[in-house]
């Protein structure tokens, strides 16, 4: 049976022209090596005391990546080259109980780096050794997992190890293409050159990263899928210190599926100029006062809040089984046990839809046709009319969610688990932003407040500025707001600096005062490690996620002004341009 399935998958990959999407390039030699080694391993890999694998899948990332960085208009880094690696999912045991999702799953993430050149023998040799390691590690993990289970009381919530789902067959690849380094360099220099005109900016980095290539998946269940990958990400950060020593920084991002689809250069320059001016304004802005009352999150700040409060919890992959009986490792969703309950106001719905490439004309980064377990991506309705309906799932089931929704994703440091892709929040009775701020002001007035706080941008703190206090306490870390305003009843907006949020609990979402009627996409890259650390570090690469959320008005949040001494500002004056 297995061999028959394999023959099929070989066909599909060896001759992509004959599939639905005709005209794609021939698959690399590495795919033939994967197919051949997969057939051999599933049939012959056996040691005394360790069963043959019951499932084996390879996923080849065949991409070219270019990364450039510039500061004050001068290039500081520029590198382009192929990056080719294979992820290995090898399972022994059976669907009910196998070696996966065990405490040391990080150690058991199996992969093999392939060389730059596409060579059958070299790829096959690497796969042979990596699969051998994966098999031995799987044997050891299953033994240990079984030993733990033997000592555990029966758990009514225990779910099988691996879902029975049908892998997709499709091929939609693009011809190999190399990112053009010179135009990336020119863009980074151009955008960072904006800061030369502003002596208030002490540091800045513009990083442009372009990835192009294809992803290929083959599995012993007959999975055979291939799809093109493409992403350009431009991250612009700038930082300074106020005269009283307070560190200030800000950051914006542009994304597109290809370089040509980035916003017009003049538009990007204008946005960077605006950020540069804002940073100057921030240096002079008053320090925020302690505040308790309504808070409005507009623009990308709304998506950032959804990321911090909700996104990770929508993923239903159960936490890995602990290495001691009864122990569970951290990482289970806070929404466990909340299916059917209100978690958002009535009229609010949340879906995740990886099949979308754009939202209202804006590119989304969580777009893919099939996930990293070869399951077709699909739209999943998560919250309907404020009621939590279901989780995003990978092929690791949880009680009540026996099937994958096609959201299995991984990063360099985390094995495949369910993660959001394109998370879209909408409200049936959303109101325009102007009206929303008016409502918030009315609520503020009732609480005796002269103004309402509006947050327009939240960024990840720079490493040196990380406040360890952010990591303690219950609730979620929202990050560091970089653009916060007091809005007065007469419409006046006053920029303030130094804002920090106390930890915000998930239940604050249920009690939202108001919600907007349109949102802009907020994009981020997750290391896949889960909260609370995920929101505090921006990995250079990882799981790309977009969140589209309309403006959100929280009824009652605490904002704190900074306490304690600041570092001194620089002693010597800034070098003259």
């Amino acid at each position: 049976m297995r061999l028959a399935a394999l023959a099929l998958c070989t066909c599909a990959l060896a001759a992509p022209d004959r599939t639905a999407h005709a005209g794609g390039p021939p698959p690399p030699q590495a795919v033939r090596a994967m197919t051949d080694e997969l057939a051999r391993a599933i049939d012959k890999l056996e040691l005394p005391g360790i069963a043959k694998p019951y499932y084996l899948a390879y996923q080849l990332w065949d991409v070219r990546i270019a990364t450039v960085a510039a500061s004050f208009g001068a290039l500081t880094f520029s590198l382009a080259g192929p990056e080719r690696s294979v992820d290995i999912d090898l399972r022994i045991g059976d669907h009910a109980l196998d070696n996966s999702n065990f405490a040391d799953s990080f150690e058991h993430r199996q992969e093999s780096a392939l060389g730059d050149e596409d060579d059958y023998d070299a790829a096959r040799h690497a796969l042979w050794l990596a699969t051998d390691r994966a098999y031995k590690a799987a044997g050891e993990a299953l033994d240990r997992k079984q030993a733990v289970i033997k000592e555990e009381a029966k758990n009514p919530d225990e779910a099988p190890s691996f879902s029975k789902d049908t892998p997709v067959k499709l091929s939609d690849t693009a011809p190999p293409a190399t990112p053009e380094l010179p135009r990336l360099e020119a863009l980074a220099s151009k955008l960072s050159g904006v800061f030369r005109a502003n002596p208030d900016v002490y540091r800045n980095t513009v990083r442009v990263r372009e990835m192009r290539g294809n992803r290929y998946f083959v599995s012993s269940e007959g999975g055979a899928a291939a799809a093109a990958l493409g992403e350009v990400r431009v991250t612009v950060t700038c930082a300074t210190q106020a005269d009283d020593g307070m560190p200030l920084h800000d950051s914006i991002m542009f994304v597109a599926p290809s370089f040509d689809q980035l916003p017009r250069e003049a538009d990007m320059v204008a946005q960077v100029e605006a950020m540069s001016r804002q940073l100057s304004a921030l240096r002079k802005a008053p320090i925020v006062d302690d505040y308790a009352g309504p808070v409005v999150f507009r623009g990308t700040a709304a998506g950032r809040v959804v990321r911090a409060l909700l996104a990770d919890d929508l993923a239903g992959t159960p936490a890995p089984k602990g290495s001691r009986p009864g122990a569970r490792t951290a990482g289970d969703s806070d929404l466990a046990g909340k299916v059917g309950q209100h978690i958002l106001p009535a009229g609010v719905s949340v879906v995740d839809d990886p099949t979308l490439a754009r939202s209202a004309g804006q590119p989304l980064t969580g777009h893919f046709a099939f996930d990293e377990e070869g399951i077709a991506a699909r739209r999943v309705s998560l919250v309907e009319d404020g009621v939590f309906k279901r989780f995003l799932m990978s092929r690791t089931p949880r009680k009540g969610f026996e099937h994958s929704t096609g959201h299995g994703r991984s990063s360099a440091t985390s094995p495949v688990r369910a993660h959001p892709a394109n998370l879209i929040v909408s409200a049936s009775r959303g109101v325009p932003d102007r009206e929303l701020v008016r409502h918030a002001l009315a609520a503020a007035k009732q609480q005796g407040l002269a103004y309402v706080m509006v947050v327009d941008r939240i960024t990840t703190p720079e490493q040196g500025d990380l406040d360890p206090g952010m990591l303690s306490g219950p609730g979620s870390v929202i990050g560091q707001p970089s653009l916060v305003k007091r809005v007065y009843p007469d419409g006046r907006e006053e920029l303030v600096r130094g804002t920090a949020f106390a930890a915000v609990p998930l239940r604050a979402l249920k009690d939202l005062l108001d919600i907007g009627n349109s949102g802009v996409p907020y994009h981020y890259v997750s290391a896949g490690s889960g909260r609370p650390f995920d929101a505090l570090f921006e990995p250079p690469s990882g799981i790309a996620i977009s969140i589209v959320a309309p403006s959100l008005v929280f009824r009652d949040l605490d904002l704190k002004k900074p306490r304690g001494a600041q570092r001194k500002p620089p002693i010597a004056p800034r070098p003259a341009p």
């Binding site: 051999r40 056996e46 004050f72 001068a74 080259g81 060389g115 070299a122 040799h125 070098p575």
Partner: protein, 604 residues
């Protein structure tokens, strides 16, 4: 001619030699201390009569005069501006320096007939060192009980072009942060000095040196990466068809780097550094779970001196043959007794056993074992041995040395340090951190980018005042085997490297990782063994050296310590050591791969 007669003759002449060259020396301590070595036979072995180690040291010709690069001027300008401004605000450190590098690294990595990685990367950075306090006590002072760390150096990437505003902006902020950190650290150092007992060695923290001024043309390197890809691809294919070899690779790395240094004392240099290397590595797995590694390198000063295909091919074939022989070799038995360390192994032996322990900063740090701190003027090894470290040598007996540099990372010219003369310890390897009795650097302050400087080795060279030929050395080994009543002696040919522990907390031991190790039986038979480690303690080991051969071999490599990895070399003649301790490597538990290597070209 019998062996005994010859030894007698050697011993007679040897005594004369020893008297002539080192009359004032005390006899080596260890020879007095260790029982069997003190016997008349051992004394006879220590006095051969062959010629002194042949040394043909080439130092580069004085470079043509050159104009400073814009980057050097920029660094000097911003350092001066920052120091002036800091002084104006009463916050000036007493010393600051910038060391910048502009490097191009070309690498080609080939495996199984395909190029796995190929890159040509340019990289520029600056390391900023700021000292608060004064020469006597400053912010670099290592506090009692403090863990070794990366130090207070601040490192930053610099723009690839000489963009004045961008570069100055980075230097400005980093210098500011470094001076504040130094001032804070000084307060901690001063507080610690008040509450802890006086340190045994109360040398200053920073030496006074004459600032150097030296400008050479920037580094230039010509290399055809495409041509190297084309050459390495087929060469790396030689490993195919050897199913027992699991991993193998062939790597070319070529670096061309210009280093820039400016200090607030007015030191200023600009020097090029070019280095190229080919590394061959392969590993195999034995049926009993032992992983075997074998590597060979060619280290040269410029890419045009890299070997031709025939030489590389021969070395690959040697690696393949060695791994094959090792796979079938018996596992070593624990052993103590006499051994020969052949050239490269002897060099690594001195590097680990001696070189790391005479790094100056270890002599006054009370966290360190200070093996040799109080042994200046005392005999620590055989009286026929001289040991020195000389970074000014570029080529030794035709071999390019990795540890050649004109200036160290504190702006001090690299100099010859005569460490052992006639078996007697004379000095330490010194950076600008003085040690008891030594107030000046001898140009050995080194670091990897981003780390803080400590004293390190450069080109360690061991020479013998009189030698024997290699055949005699082997006969002397067998004589010693018989005398000690051992079934065989040991011969160490190739080493992967080694390590040593120097802090008080850990045992003062070293471990070398030999790869090609042989048992030599009294009948002259050689037998390769696998899984041997060579262990010992430094004072004993140095005292056990009995004779040196008339050869000299160089080990070129990279050495890692507190201040990161730095290129070094170790050269020595083959040495007869009366006692070594050989232990068995921890046995791996992993099985060889379940399936055989896949067939070339695929199953179909």
């Amino acid at each position: 001619m019998t062996y005994h007669r010859r030894v007698k003759r050697l011993s007679l002449l040897g005594v004369m030699c020893a008297c002539a060259s080192s009359a004032k020396h005390e006899p080596p301590v260890a020879q007095r201390a260790v029982g069997p070595a003190g016997s008349p036979a051992a004394a006879a072995l220590a006095d051969p009569t062959g010629p002194a180690t042949r040394i043909d040291a080439r130092r580069p010709a004085p470079p043509p005069a050159a104009k400073p690069d814009p980057l050097l001027e920029l660094l000097a300008g911003e350092l001066q501006r920052s120091m002036t401004e800091l002084a104006r605000h009463g916050e000036a450190p007493y010393h600051a320096s910038y060391e910048a590098g502009d490097a191009r690294s070309v690498s080609v990595f080939a495996s199984f007939g395909a190029v796995s990685r190929s890159s040509d990367v340019r990289h520029r950075w600056v390391d900023i060192d700021v000292r608060a306090g004064d020469h006597k006590l400053d912010s670099s002072h290592r506090m009692r009980g403090a863990r070794p760390d990366r130090g207070q150096t601040r490192s930053a990437a610099l723009p690839l072009a000489d963009d004045e505003y961008a570069i100055r902006s980075i230097l400005w902020l980093q210098t500011d942060a470094a001076s504040k950190a130094a001032a804070e650290q000084l307060k901690r150092v001063q507080a610690s000095a008040k509450v802890t007992v006086k340190q045994d060695d109360d040398s200053d923290d920073f030496s006074h040196e004459t600032p150097a001024a030296h400008v050479e043309p920037p580094a230039a390197m010509t290399i055809d990466r495409g041509a190297w890809e084309a050459r390495l691809r087929p060469l790396s294919q030689l490993f195919r068809g050897h199913p027992d070899i699991l991993d193998s690779s062939l790597t070319l790395t070529a670096t061309s780097e210009t280093d820039y240094f400016v200090s607030s004392e007015g030191a200023r240099y600009q020097v090029p550094f070019v280095h190229a290397r080919i590394r061959i590595q392969a590993s195999a797995h034995t049926d009993d779970g032992m992983e075997l590694h074998r590597f060979e390198t060619f280290d040269v000063a410029t890419p045009d001196r890299l070997p031709g295909d025939a030489d590389i091919r021969a070395r690959i074939e040697l690696v393949i043959a060695d791994l094959d022989r090792l796979r079938r070799a018996p596992i070593v038995e624990p052993y103590t007794g006499p051994a020969i360390l052949e050239g490269q192994a002897a060099g690594v032996f001195f590097h680990e056993v001696f070189g790391h322990r005479i790094e100056g900063h270890r002599q006054k740090d009370d966290n360190e074992g200070q093996t040799f701190a109080k042994k200046i003027g005392q005999a620590i090894t055989a009286s026929f041995l001289d040991v020195y470290d000389d970074p000014t040598i570029a080529t030794l007996n035709g071999v390019d040395l990795n540890g050649h540099y004109p200036f160290d990372d504190e702006g001090v010219p690299g100099q010859k340090a005569s460490l052992i003369e006639g078996g007697v310890l004379r000095t330490f390897l010194l950076g600008r951190s003085p040690a008891r009795g030594f107030v000046h650097s001898n140009g050995h302050g080194r670091r990897q980018e981003g780390r803080s400087v400590v004293a390190r080795q450069g080109n360690l060279i061991v020479t013998a005042a009189h030698t024997v030929d290699r055949a005699t050395l082997r006969r002397m080994l067998l004589d010693e085997v018989r005398r000690q009543g051992k079934p065989y002696g040991m011969l160490f040919k190739e080493l992967d490297g080694g390590f040593t522990m120097t802090t008080t907390f850990s045992p003062q031991a070293f471990k070398l990782l030999p790869v090609m190790v042989y048992r030599i039986y009294p009948d002259g038979r050689e037998e390769l063994v696998r899984g041997a480690d060579l262990e010992g303690t430094p004072l004993t080991a140095l005292g056990e050296i009995r004779a040196a051969a008339d050869d000299l071999a160089t080990f070129n490599g990279y050495c890692g310590a507190e201040s990161g990895f730095v290129p070094v070399s170790a050269s020595a003649p083959s040495l007869l050591v009366a006692h070594v301790e050989v232990t068995r490597k921890a046995k791996g538990q992993s099985r060889p791969p379940v399936l055989p290597a896949p067939p070339p070209g695929g199953d179909r």
